[in-house]
């Protein structure tokens, strides 16, 4: 941290890049979108550092990341629906694979896939709570929705996850 307590964006990128990428990856579900999201976030970080109040830097970063993510998904929804382009190199789609009996085990990949299947608002709430570790109030402040809505989204998100991973 620089002396003034306000981090430089290089410090943010270097010290929190992995955290940022993780949050972005859990939200978007794929590497390319995660990288794009982190790019956007760093731009905003660069502009917004003057308004940063010392406190939880990771909380602040995840707030920007999640809002940027949700803004982008809302913008995409307004566009006419077309098939999301497949990665042109992925000629062979991933094979369905054998059914996996999960029991009390859930491999990270399966959990990530289930997260990705959640509606974005639920996914964002679950990621902010269980990946970043924010309180309901902090999530409420970040997303600008009432605490009750936060609670409901988290609960529904978890229930859907459990159902998908059953």
């Amino acid at each position: 941290m620089s002396g003034s307590g306000i981090p430089t964006w290089e410090e943010v990128a270097r010290d929190h890049g992995r955290f940022l990428y993780t949050v972005a990856y859990r939200l978007t579900g794929n590497s390319n979108d995660a990288q794009d999201l982190v790019q956007e976030v760093l731009l905003k970080v660069r502009r917004g550092l003057e308004t940063y109040r010392p406190g939880s830097l990771e909380g602040w970063l995840s707030r920007i990341t999640t809002n940027t993510f949700l803004d982008e998904t809302r913008r995409q929804r307004r566009r006419p629906v077309d098939l999301l382009p497949e990665d042109p190199d992925r000629v062979v789609p991933p094979s369905p694979g054998a059914d996996v009996a999960l029991a009390a085990e859930a491999l990270p990949d399966h959990v990530q896939e289930a997260l990705r299947a959640l509606p974005e608002e639920y996914r964002a709430a679950v990621v902010m709570c269980d990946v970043v570790g924010l309180s309901y109030q902090e999530i409420s402040d970040s997303l600008d929705v009432p605490v009750g809505t936060v609670r409901s989204r988290i609960h529904r998100g978890r229930a859907l996850l459990r159902k998908t991973l059953a």
Partner: protein, 159 residues
């Protein structure tokens, strides 16, 4: 009352719904938490729902940090030349400038790009990531044991 209904508090025979998640996350004030636990003791449906969301919560909390692919940090630094964007402004503004004025803007943008600055940005490539990228790509069409097995050993050059 649906199983997953949003239930601010609960009344008598109603189910807990998202109060369960609040309970798990320590977000219920003590009196409400006590009331929720009392309900749970007598309600198998809510007990089952609690188990389900608790399981999902554990799974997500157990997710590891994700390492970005090689080139990620470099891309952040590379593409992070926002000066060109901010100096040129939006396109409408740019249309109003013309000729020499635009060149002036170009000069200003280029200065901020670092043409005048003494040296390129220091970078610290991730050697393990590059080794892994090399070995996995080189193993295609070649003997797997020779080319791929060695990356089972994590690369560390610190010693």
């Amino acid at each position: 009352m649906s199983r997953f209904g949003t239930n601010g508090g609960f009344a008598g025979g109603g189910h807990l719904g998202d109060v369960l998640s609040a309970l798990l996350d320590g977000e219920l004030p003590a009196p409400q938490a006590e009331g929720a636990r009392a309900h749970l003791a007598a309600c198998p449906d809510c007990t089952q729902e609690l188990a389900a969301v608790s399981q999902a919560r554990s799974w997500v909390r157990a997710l590891p940090l994700v390492d970005p692919p090689f080139g990620f940090y470099e891309r952040m630094l590379l593409d992070h030349q926002p000066a060109l964007r901010s100096a040129t402004g939006d396109r409408a503004t740019l249309r109003r400038r013309a000729g020499l004025a635009a060149l002036g803007a170009a000069a200003a943008a280029v200065t901020v790009l670092g043409v005048g600055s003494p040296s390129p940005r220091p970078v610290s490539p991730s050697m393990p990531r590059l080794v892994e990228a090399h070995a996995t790509s080189a193993s295609v069409g070649a003997d797997l044991l020779s080319k791929l097995a060695p990356v089972g050993v994590p690369v560390s050059f610190g010693r």
